[in-house]
Symmetry: C2
Subunit: 364 residues, 2 copies
Amino acid sequence: MFRSILVSCQRNSQIPNIISEMTETTQTNDDTNMSEFGLIARLAESTASSDTVDSQSVLVGIGDDAAVVSTPSGPMLLTTDAIVDGVHFRSVDERWFDVGWKCAVSNLSDIAAMGGVPDHALVTLGVPQGASIETYDEFYSGMNRAFEKFGGQVVGGDVVSSPTMFVNLALTGHPSLDAAGNSAWLERSAAQVNDLVCVTGPLGGSAGGLEILLSGDSNPSGQILIERHYRPRPRIRLGSQLVEAGVVCAMDISDGLVGDIEKLASASSVEITIEIPRIPITSELVFMFGNSAIELALSGGEDYELVFTAPQSVVENLSGEVKQEISVIGRVSGEGPTGGKVVVIDENGETYQPIRKGWDHLNV
Amino acid sequence: MFRSILVSCQRNSQIPNIISEMTETTQTNDDTNMSEFGLIARLAESTASSDTVDSQSVLVGIGDDAAVVSTPSGPMLLTTDAIVDGVHFRSVDERWFDVGWKCAVSNLSDIAAMGGVPDHALVTLGVPQGASIETYDEFYSGMNRAFEKFGGQVVGGDVVSSPTMFVNLALTGHPSLDAAGNSAWLERSAAQVNDLVCVTGPLGGSAGGLEILLSGDSNPSGQILIERHYRPRPRIRLGSQLVEAGVVCAMDISDGLVGDIEKLASASSVEITIEIPRIPITSELVFMFGNSAIELALSGGEDYELVFTAPQSVVENLSGEVKQEISVIGRVSGEGPTGGKVVVIDENGETYQPIRKGWDHLNV
């Protein structure tokens, strides 16, 4: 999912140091408050208590990257994701192709997180007065280009008037096949004690790119990070390869590494320990941000990489192609509390407290 | 789909006569302008010209009430619909259960319009600062109640921060079976010359209810119309019955009778003639609005009834149960221009020009 970093930026027209702003807004996971996760939990409760529930047809319900429902021909994946002007993008920037691309990628990444293959998309446009048709032509181009590259196609949609511009995408997909030829998928709740914790990478590039954009710095290293911000790539192919290799637990890194692993730990009721020196970051990020680079990698969202857990034997047997793309950054260190727990270890072996863990979409 | 009548209301805090406002805003169907239909047409063009298109898997694409895509187990229906605060509902009214109900019904009605059966829904919430969790609990209750009653269930969703409250639903479904036991569905583009034109009804009740709500009138007849406004019912069962009876052309009446029939005529390249005395309206609407009742029936949206066309022999063979629910209001009177054409005949046999034909979601 998209995160909401631009709200932080908008609160201060001086383009502040985002890292320092992050300290003000560390998220909580209290499901009774008005957090993103509280609202999702309440939706799950409300739906579960209603008579609508045909639980046999819902294989994975509310709370994972995508739902998995059964159909006569086998399981189907369903996901949805919205972007809002002033929250996830700024219309004043007029980067419509990029906004369209990223809108598609945020949904495609949810399918990748389940190890699935994208199929059909529906797009809803919330259109403010005075918007131009050229805006939407460019938006459509960017969105369709991402679908061309990674799979999926738009088959319908809706257009409504709205004071605030927004776009919602809903995307279907189907699961990949495991080594035995059966449909299988990746879930957040399937981590087991002693699993290794792995990520694709590098991480932090998108958040770094956004900071550079906002500062106006024109250093060439910065441009590489800006590209990471505007043109993230969903890990569709790698997700399928993980399913084929027997991996069963994964999610995408959209809201920040530590916060997202916390959700995975919570869904699996385990404790996870990760080590800072093992987290993949690019030389450009270190060059541009020095010691702050690791904070961007720990908490910056919108990288759309994958985090997964698997027994050591499964990780060792991954193909050479997959091994080149991943880093082992930690392990599932024990049974955890219901709320899940993530311990971050620094280069001295000490426990490290990230300044911010990730992004709650309602507390930015 | 929802229409946008509340924007008309908001423009004048005096709660004006909506009928007179309608004259200012008669919609155009020029696809090059910034209309809802122009934007949808451009999306269709952009998608068709992109390399994403696997046309074999798209049986009905952009522009009908729902898309129909092929899956290994047969065709699947996909639709999406959004509601926006200040456009489709007013948060200040705090009718959250009703808003949830109607949000579900507007999507369910798109499935009904295809003659299908609803399956799985995804809900996206755009949440403004200061919203309360109780608001969403009530919203969820109303939405789930509608799914309980008419089919379908929520299996996932997304939550994002937004200055303007909005909700998007995406809904899947599957087609009904025709008399031969094959999957079949209703399309806008399948009207044939000499078909009869039929509607379920009554019409205009929802728009009348909204006017009464805004005027504060407490007449009991008015309360029946208000109920029509807040608790519309999608014609799921009737849609299936039409498919079984061999009907192939239909859509739902969400934006206004004349405007919606114009879309059907346009999609089918035919001319349609309808007769005012045959349009079903309730005695409550006539009692409350007198001569204006017919205008509400011709242009008022959100009734979520169905309009369909079929040869006389098919209509005559409909079951008694279905016949009780429908009115024949006209016929497909000829081949039409590409843009479609609707002629309205009054009780004297004269051509009648409706003050407003329907609702374009971007020109309200």
